[in-house]
Amino acid sequence: MTNGWIDIKNTDMMLIMGGNPAENHPCGFKWAIEAKRTRNAKMIVVDPRFTRTAATSDLFCQIRAGADIAFLGGVVRYAIENNRIAKDYLINYTNAAFIVKEGFQLPEDGLYSGFDAGTQTYDKSTWNYEEGGDKSGEAATAAPARGHTGGATAANANAASTGGSAASQGQQPGSGSGPGLTGQGYTGMGAGGAKAMEPTKSAPTLPGKVAYDLTLQHPRCVFQLLKQQYSRYTPEMVERITGVPKDQFLKAADTFTSVRKDGDMKKVGTIMYAVGWTQHSFGTQIIRTAAILQLMLGNIGRAGGGVNALRGHSNIQGATDMGGVFDIWPGYLKAPNPTDTDLATYLKRVTPTTSKPEHWDSFNYWSNTPKFTVSFLKALYGDAATKENDWAFNYMPKVDRNYSWTQIWDAMYRGNVKGMFAFGMNGVAIGPDSQKNIDALKKAEFLVVGEIYPDETSEFWKSPGVTPDEMKTINTTVYRLPCAGFAEKDGSMTNSARWLQWKNVAVPPPGDCRLDQDIVAQIFLKVRDLYQSEGGKFPDPILKLTWAYTNTLHPALGDLAKELNGKALADLTDPKTQITIKRGQQLPGFAWLKDDGTTSCGNWIYSGCWTEAGNQMIRRGTEDPAGQGIYQNWAWSWPANRRVLYNRASCDPSGKPWDPTRKQVWWNESAQLWQGNDIPDFKPDSNPKDHMGPFIMNPEGVGRIFGPLAAFADGPFPEHYEPIESPVQNPLHPNQSNNPVVKKFKTAADKYATPGDGFNIICTTYRMVEHYHYWTKNNPMNVQLVPEAFVEIPVELAQELGIKGNDKVKVTSARSFYIAKAFVTKRIRPMTIDGKKVYQIGIPIHQGYRGIQEDADRNARTIANRLSPTVTDPNAYTPEFKGFLVKLEKA
């Protein structure tokens, strides 16, 4: 979340789309209700089903799964056409006025400039700003950026050799890894520089001085391109693609953009989303469209505004923050690749340089990347990390290809991954294509599962369909390690609002159960012993790893938290304030980090969580003097305990709050400082006259309406593409229906359906409030509330197929089938998509072949994700769990 759960209470307008917070985040949803109760806030819900969130909304639109970009693009167009724009914000805080290079082309035929059909990648050199100064007088003479008329441009020799696209993980809210995860990085943190895989030398960079036109008239300025891009997203086109009737769409667009009626800046709107947006083969771009809309409306950085990723697990935010994905290190530092032969090369590639109009200022906070990196390496290797050995940079693995979730399973299916440690997740049930994952595990040599229940993954060898004879042929050794549950561990969890909240142990783990960190520590120590005694090809990365925990066999999470926070490795003095930190002391925050080896820090964004003053995450202060739900003394929020990100943008360019009744931060002229109820997310002494941009993590200093260069694999603006399995051809460009850079998997298990094969019902998967993923089917209380697997089917479709409520039905996809009871409902209605009648059905994901009901044989023992396809978003690599094709019949 750019903002936080409690902050939702400050809003005047909510758009909830791609998420179902009433059911999946019921405790956080109280703040949405609070906004309705205390501010008369309006709530718009857009979803394929009328959910329990929709039941509390003021306006509901039933959308086709996977048509979100078309809907949001239509709202962008509506806002432009009706002048519902925050003009000063748009000009000063976004790149709307920046001029894009000549040669850039919009995807009128479905392709941006630079596409290479052979590698299915883009040469992004034209996706860049033009170098220069003020171009406001040149509007009349410049050539517009028309769309293609021909096919793709010539192959990009530079990109051709790359093995799979690398990540821009964490560059935008919503980048994430693995199913069920929505990532939320530090918006726009990327350098806009080269992607991990692309050869360093030829990678284009952003110009230092960007050409601009503050009148927004230049035909190649970002705003004009935006206008042109979404001019095609008319209400009629929105209806054709999304199935939302034109009048309903217009009502939703009018309601949401009404916060900026006549340009008045007082009101604020928020957008909330979850995995209903991320789990598409264009998921990142849906979130981008939301970010563009919010930038246009001036809603980011403001109390009650923002683009808010609602996380589906208690600590998913923490997992991404800690680098729980293959292509980032903790704190969203980019993982090095094989071209990074030394630290300097790596740092040159990943440290952005400012790119802005000459007379503006940009903090470009990522210019501190070397400090974060060296401090991270010092945390890992301590005294073994020296200036001479590049701070042990070469001990770190270099990411040579895509190792995302589906790639790991695919590699195991192909026999290339020999074993797996599965902790805190149920990989078979998560899918996609659960049967492929089961078949992959059959080929593995070993599987280690750390869980609190026996789950589908650890019992893959007795999944439905495995005969006793086949069982004998499965040679995978399965180690089942009983782990501790959440109430049996201490430590912090990072919630959607970026709060690190420390919890204490409630009860000790039962029986032989052990703490996850103990298991991992003890395996590590054994491996280290083996390297010690037997040597190996490259033992140093293991042997020299610091392990300075009080109890090496049972590392206390407090010790780890201190390591993440970082400490001084020499006496440090701040030249401005003369404040000194002694060697060995905990650092107060990341501003103290150095690139000369005098500081260590395991995760720079968590620096400040455990200072000399102690554990900040355990704080439970309930003071909220401003009444905005900031709660500065409750737990600790990254970065630097800020609660609303980019809060400089809550003020006008002169430093005065847009809405005096919701003052977050402001410029204090007499003190020459930024002050506030929240901690300013800004350079504290930057005078507004210097025009420093509020989006300090972008090298431009401003919000990116146009995502330049390698920020995104599939285009600088979002474009509507059809899901990989879709009942229609893309009405915008039938010849380029799907996301052009999305690659299908190619094993025998990977089958993809078309309506021509008889698969013409759209299926979407979801979670219910009564269950928590695949766990609570082991808990009687939850099982009682929703005892059986079901499929939600529109009344009209049920009638056509002669299906009655509670009948047993079979859902079949190109991959496999699913059997459950029919839930015939009026809450999903038939839709008309591009003139064609289309039905959608929905399947909760919670059942499987291991649980109370399953063990008692009261369930068909199929897993919902047997149906879903292995295909992913090209930026965050999240699988497309929403919107694939199936057949339906009575079982």
């Binding site: 009433a22 059911e23 019921p26 405790c27 949803f29 109280k30 209700i33 609070e34 309705k36 109760r37 008369n40 009328f50 329990r52 969130t53 929709a54 039941a55 509390t56 003021d58 509901f60 219910m768 409030v769 009564e770 009687p780 209380m781 099982v783 009682q784 509330l785 929703v786 005892p787 059986e788 079901f790 409520g805 509670n806 009871k821 029919a822 839930f823 015939v824 409902t825 009026k826 809450r827 209605r829």
Partner: protein, 295 residues
Amino acid sequence: MSQSTLAIRRISAHAGAAPGENVERDELVCKLIDTTTCIGCKACEVACLEWNGYTFTETVFDNSYQTMPETTWNYWNLIKFNEHEREDGSITLLMRKDQCMHCADPGCLAACPADGAIVQYTNGIVDFQQQNCIGCGYCVSGCPFDIPKFNPTTKKMFKCTLCVDRVSEGLEPACIKSCPTGCLHFGTKDDMKDLAETRAKQLRENYGIEKAGVYDPAGVNGTGVIYVLHDITNPEAYGGLPKNPHVPWVVRIWKGPAKWIGNLAMLGGLLGVTLHYLRYGPKEIDAEKHEGEKP
């Protein structure tokens, strides 16, 4: 609130005044359920089970999110889910937490023939005292909301107690405590009524929900559980909430006029017997006749 809230106002089938009645002035307690902010999460269902010590019951999916068709003797709190077509043809999902309404004029108590099996405390809570219950089920016929349920094992009747054990210790009922959105409120009847009316007004004036209103039916003299409904004219749409609930006439007549007629008839009979005795004296046995009857 303290233990004094356990002072009793009314007792079923009890002769004479209830002990404690009118001893002190007590506020009526009230639960407010705002159906317009209920998300149907069932936290209240689970909290109710856990507080009252009930465990797993086997349930069966029945084409609904609803846990079971009706409340049971050991499942006192149930969200009723109803797919509802609005006048403009759009669909909505109405969710209403169903439980004992704690009527000011409780039909169950009126119908109950067992002395002390049902009591109404001075704070308005209507509570079953299972040790006095004879399991006759008359309370069912007295209840306009179909709430009391029979436990076939113990042959006793059960229903929501409004967590009288918590309330008497100054705590809110378990369902209120668990509600994540704050659609449930607990306080005095006056405060809850005020809050409910304010919310209904907000819905009418700021959200264009013209028929929003407060359900506090006069037929049972008001209830200790009140609802804010989107459409006060159609409570039936919320899973069978009666529009004009009242204690059935049978119960009223039976425990009212019929009771007195019965009493009068009984008294009349006794009077007749007495008068007959006074007038004719004791019945004398006709020895001769008896003798004559002998064979």
